[in-house]
């Protein structure tokens, strides 16, 4: 049996797609009727009340913003640890984590749409190998709402099933609902907003999550272990989730950790550099290395290779250093073009930066600059650099 508990700021609110989502969609239609001005049709997503102050626009006009599938069509299962597998794709594709056990499969993110059928086949094959026949996909967790993380939602959801109570089956004979797709509530709100505002690359409704919540920690017991969903506030977006498999000792972080580049801080969707750093520090706190800062808790990043706490520490240090340099320049009154000209990340760019593609070094510097205060702490005694703690991030709470 699954047990659920919810620890959150304002009561457990479950927004089913048929309820709040449709209500919001209807509101959006009223706001942007057919025949609305052209600029309305291309309005930047994520510019609603929750992203007030954000000015990222060009990012979303770029059709290549979302990571695109670039590989040979293969999904590579790799045993992360315990009951969790990493379904690695090709360069540019987001990682998918799969937990398999006697109760079925829990899938964290579903990758890009073109790979969804192959991903489903691999998950089903893996489930059969590891847990035997009749082990269905029960849950999908979206770590954010970007298309390279939710692109396979429809296929994976429909390929799974939810165990429902008798009344539902009596009322809907022959109908088996697909897997439950869980996300933070902000993900659904933004997807609905983008769809209703006529955004050209808006995700179709079939990709939307079916179960969204506003929580800090959401606990599930599944496949013989505690599964904890953490919601870091305003990290790469305002809808991030991280998933910790406690017995397996694996954390799936989504885009908060990206072993292929600087974190994609989506300011249009509520992302901030300090929220990102708070989330990275939280991952470091949760992870326990086995010996000599190696192994132990394994961390599945949103993109790139499997890692452990030391890799996240290095990543966090690099991001913190760049953040502090930019705050230092900003404290001196330097403008964004001046900071860009100073190349505050140049010594790390060969490894982490990109000159082209969906998330460039320039975009990263812009996002950091825009989400830092005009004046803020950059260092204190003996050059120790202060990163704002959890309380400094809007909406941030202690875990």
């Amino acid at each position: 049996m699954n047990t659920f508990s919810c620890e959150r700021s304002g009561g457990c609110e479950r927004a089913h797609r048929g309820g709040l989502a449709l209500l919001l969609a209807a509101a959006g239609v009223l706001t942007w009727p057919a025949g609305a001005p052209a600029q309305a049709q291309t309005q930047t997503p994520g510019t609603g009340p929750q992203s007030a102050g954000s000015s990222s626009t060009d990012d979303w006009a770029n059709p290549n913003f979302y990571a695109t599938y670039q590989g040979d069509g293969q999904i590579h299962p790799w045993h992360a640890q315990g009951g969790v597998w990493l379904m690695a794709g090709e360069p540019g594709m987001s990682n998918v984590a799969v937990q398999i056990g006697n109760e079925g499969a829990l899938v964290v993110d579903t990758g890009v749409k073109p790979m969804a059928d192959k991903l489903l086949a691999q998950i089903q094959q893996l489930a059969q190998q590891q847990a035997g026949d009749q082990k269905a996909i029960r849950y999908v967790v979206d770590t954010d709402g970007l298309m390279d993380h939710i692109g396979g939602n429809a296929v994976i959801r429909e390929g799974g099933s939810t165990i429902v109570a008798g009344n539902f089956q009596f009322d809907n004979p022959g109908l088996t609902p697909g897997a439950s797709v869980i996300a933070n509530q902000n993900v659904l709100m933004r997807l609905v907003q983008e769809s209703s505002s006529g955004y050209a690359n808006a995700a179709p409704q079939a990709l939307w999550p079916t179960d969204t919540e506003d929580f800090d920690i959401y606990n599930v017991h599944f496949d013989g272990e505690a599964v904890q969903l953490f919601h870091p506030h305003m990290a790469t977006t305002d809808g991030n989730l991280m998933v910790m498999f406690r017995r397996s000792d694996v954390i799936a972080t989504g885009d908060i950790v990206d072993m292929t580049g600087y974190p994609l801080i989506d300011t249009a969707r509520g992302g901030t550099i300090d929220g990102e750093l708070v989330a990275l520090n939280h991952i470091i706190e949760m992870a326990v290395p086995e010996d000599k800062q190696e192994g132990g808790t394994m961390i599945i990043p949103g993109h790139g290779r499997l890692c452990d706490q030391s890799d996240v520490v290095h990543y966090k240090n690099v991001i913190t250093i760049i953040r502090n340099r930019i705050q230092y320049y900003k404290n001196q009154g330097k403008t964004l073009p001046q900071v860009l000209a100073l190349k505050p990340s140049a010594d790390y760019d060969d490894r982490w930066g990109h000159d082209s593609g969906p998330w460039t070094t320039r975009q990263f510097i812009e996002a950091v600059y825009k989400t830092l205060p005009a004046r803020g702490p950059s260092f204190s005694m003996l050059n120790e650099t202060v990163v704002p703690a959890t309380a400094a991030v809007a909406g941030g709470r202690s875990y």
């Binding site: 800062q293 190696e294 790139g304 499997l306 005694m381 050059n383 650099t385 202060v386």
Partner: protein, 307 residues
């Protein structure tokens, strides 16, 4: 008496020849590296034991990016709990302290040498060198401090290639390597002396391979002690602090040059600083400021930070 011994001598020679013929030819060319080895610090002792000064990168083929990272580095960072128990990576470990143990693994049926393993006492640096074909970890597999090593014998020289090492360091004063760095090594044994030559390549932080040699002396009676390590909060800090130096002129980085009479420009390093003729170029460099000026500037930095 002398004649009576002849048949025994011939018999012994015959047995010896027969025994030699039974020894595999390839193995005869290999060196036996097994045993316990003490590191010798007659080379680069100041760098390897007390540790290099901050700002000293002379004679190293480092890039400007590497110098920038090193100038940002603050030794206080080592007090962060999550960094306290890090071992040296394989691309530095043989330059560090601690006894070295080497042993070989052989297939119990074929007696083929399958692995050579090394263990350095400090932080228990345990490395596997695959001597038979072994699948390389895929790009999505985790990296490690010791990386993935493969080896082969060329005569009596052991050649080793290593990659998949975590982002680490080539010097303990902040000179970095990233996780794309690779290392090629040559191990030679001459009697009781073992030499390891390391050639480190890093497209981001080295403009050409960094070559270093390390020597060890064989111990007749070896021992290896355990090296447990536990993190502690050595310095009370708020969450998320990363000790670092901010951009701009930093007198602390110049102190080494001024104290040792080396032009500041030369201590920044670069491939050209490895060459003998660079000494001529150093003669034309502007003189360093006096030490008193550096110390005054350092004090000013400290005072500003304490405010």
């Amino acid at each position: 008496m002398h004649r009576s011994r002849q048949p025994a001598v011939w018999l012994a020679l015959l047995c010896s020849a027969a025994a030699t013929a039974l020894i595999p030819h390839a193995a005869a060319a290999q060196s036996l590296l097994d045993g316990y080895w003490n590191p010798l610090f007659d080379e680069d002792v100041n760098e390897r034991i007390p540790g290099p000064d901050q700002g000293d990168y002379a004679g190293l083929p480092v890039t400007l990016a590497a110098v920038s990272v090193a100038h940002t580095w603050d030794p206080e960072r080592l007090t962060l709990p999550e960094l306290q128990c890090r071992p040296h990576p394989s691309i530095y470990g043989f330059r560090g302290v601690g006894n070295l143990r080497i042993w070989e693994d052989r297939d119990p049926y074929t007696n083929i040498q399958t692995q050579i393993e090394t263990w350095i006492m400090w932080q228990s640096q345990h490395r596997h060198i695959w001597m038979v074909p072994h699948p390389h970890p895929p790009p999505w597999a985790p990296e490690s401090w010791q990386g993935f090593s493969t080896g082969r014998w060329v005569g009596n020289v052991l050649e080793v290639h290593t990659d998949m090492v975590k982002a680490a360091w080539t010097r303990r004063n902040g000179l970095p390597t990233d996780d794309k760095a690779t290392m090629d090594e040559r191990f030679f044994r001459y009697g009781d002396i073992l030499t390891d030559i390391m050639m480190i390549s890093d497209p981001q932080y080295l403009s050409e391979p960094l070559v270093k040699s390390n020597e060890f002396f064989r111990q007749a009676d070896g021992a290896m002690q355990p090296y447990p390590c536990n993190q502690v909060d050595e310095v009370p800090r708020a969450e998320g602090i990363v000790p670092m130096h901010l951009p701009g002129p930093d007198a602390m980085m110049d102190e080494y040059a001024v104290r040792n009479g080396v032009p500041i420009q030369a201590t920044v390093g670069g491939a050209q600083t490895q060459l003998p003729e660079y000494q001529d170029a150093m003669l034309k460099m502007p003189p360093n400021p006096p030490l008193s000026q550096i110390e005054k500037a350092e004090q000013k930095i400290i005072n500003n930070e304490e405010q």
